[in-house]
Amino acid sequence: MINQPETRDLLAEARQVLLESVAPELAGEHKYQALMIANAMGMAIRELEQREQGQPEQTDRAVRAYLSEQSLDETATEAETDLARVIRERRLDGTDPALRSVLRTLTESRLLINNPGYRKR
């Protein structure tokens, strides 16, 4: 089914109207609410972009590859769930740079959606 303009375009335009025309007319609690709405829409837009680029799958593959290297890739559940479990069970060395790297990859992938500016701090 063709349904144009696409969702990302609709959201981006709506967010721009909110920020450029609506929010400047508001004050106090309503302005704060408008900025929260713009923030939520920004996340939705970035999440759609990341999905189009296959970013979540790439991150999952990186986690899965790490678990395979550690011979811990034994269940059929989501890679992140497995990773959390084997860390909790102390089956990994917390100081291993490869583990730290995969944790960073996961965190940065989420920040690319939730708050891209935070990564530069």
Binding site: E29, Q33, M36, I37, N39, A40, M43, E78, E80, T81, L83, A84, R85, I87, R88, R90, G94, T95, L99, R100, L103, R104, L106, T107, E108, R110, L111, N114, N115, Y118, R119, R121
Partner: protein, 341 residues
């Protein structure tokens, strides 16, 4: 709103034996997802507090978070802190009868100034003013930490179990994470680190546990009141200092590690001047890592309140999306500690 003002006003008239009261001002104060705070200014005729009086009335909002105290418990903590000389609103009267206003509430004095973190962090203070503010924060904590268990009025505060506040926290957060049921590998990793690096516990003291920029009132450069006591607990003194220094509460002024205002050494100096105790900066750093995990846990719980339908809220939903920030800070901070920075 005005019916509520009359209800509170009548309660206060009874408490201070006044002949009558006129409501000069009544408004709902900002902040507090867990409680409703109302500013109430009265002109009281006769009684123990005659004349114009500014009060704050604090009562429960529809729902709370797992860790927080009830209003009567919070009132008793505030009494203990006030008696210990902490600059806090004076707790006046507790009303435990929900028939009066529909909720349990208490009345305290209203402090001057603002608690707005952004305003404070951006304020045009001199270096000396900043140092004095930060030393004052240390001094306030030192006074609070003179309150030690056992205290007959604070029996509801549980003692750390095991007998080590850090390990007690780790066990609690493991339980929270299990209850939340979402995979969070970074938090699991950080909890392991916290378990492996737990310092020797200091004395067990009354901690505020939410002592941060945004939770104390400032009138220009003068601290007028430490607020929001609902997370108070028996814990290690360094828990309060670590929370105040956490990266989460610098409001953009990342290089000023004490609440976006100043340096840690001034905080420790202010603490020592009142208590005579030299706290170990490394223990404070450890508790900063704990602070990041704790804030992540609170954020996850707040998101759950939204997701479960208990309290649908955009603000709570967005807080859930902040957890990755705490996770990145955890990865960076542990690395920095290990690198000896």
């Amino acid at each position: 709103m005005s019916a509520l003002a009359d209800t509170f006003s009548a309660f206060i008239v009874r408490q201070c034996g006044a002949r009558a009261a006129r409501v000069i001002e009544f408004d709902k104060l900002s902040g507090g997802a867990i409680q409703d705070n109302f500013g109430l200014t009265l002109d009281l005729e006769g009684g123990s507090r005659p004349g114009r009086q500014e009060f704050v009335v604090r009562q429960d909002a529809p729902s709370g978070v797992a860790e927080s105290l009830s209003r009567p418990e919070e009132f008793r903590v505030l009494q203990a802190a006030f008696r210990a000389g902490v600059t806090a609103p004076e707790p006046l009267w507790l009303c435990e009868d929900p028939e009066v206003s529909g909720q349990v509430f208490y009345v305290m004095t209203r402090a001057a100034g603002s608690a707005s973190p952004r305003k404070l962090v951006k304020a045009d203070f001199s270096e000396e003013q900043r140092r004095n503010i930060v030393r004052r924060l240390g001094a306030e904590l030192a006074r609070l930490h003179t309150v030690r268990p056992p205290q007959a009025s604070l029996v509801f505060l549980v003692m750390p179990d095991p007998d080590n506040p850090a390990l007690s926290r780790v066990a609690l957060y493991r339980r929270y994470l299990k209850e939340i049921g979402e995979p969070h590998p970074v938090l699991e990793w950080a909890l392991n680190w916290l378990e492996d690096h737990a310092p020797e516990p200091g004395p067990t003291v009354l901690c505020h546990c939410d002592f941060r920029t945004g939770n104390y009132m400032m009138d220009s450069d003068e601290l007028t009141a430490v607020l929001d006591w609902e997370f108070a607990a028996w814990s290690d003194p360094c828990e309060d200092l670590g929370w105040l220094c956490s990266r989460s509460w610098r409001f953009g002024a990342d290089d000023r590690e004490v609440g976006g205002l100043g340096d840690r050494q001034d905080l420790l100096d202010g603490y020592r001047e009142v208590s005579g105790v030299d706290l170990d900066p490394a223990t404070v750093s450890y508790w900063e890592v704990m602070a990041l995990v704790r804030w992540a846990m609170i954020a996850l719980q707040q998101a759950r309140r939204h997701m479960s339908g208990e309290q649908r809220s955009l603000e709570l939903a967005l807080t859930g999306r902040m957890v990755a920030q705490m996770e990145l800070d955890l990865l960076n901070q542990v690395q920095e500690l290990e690198d000896g920075q």
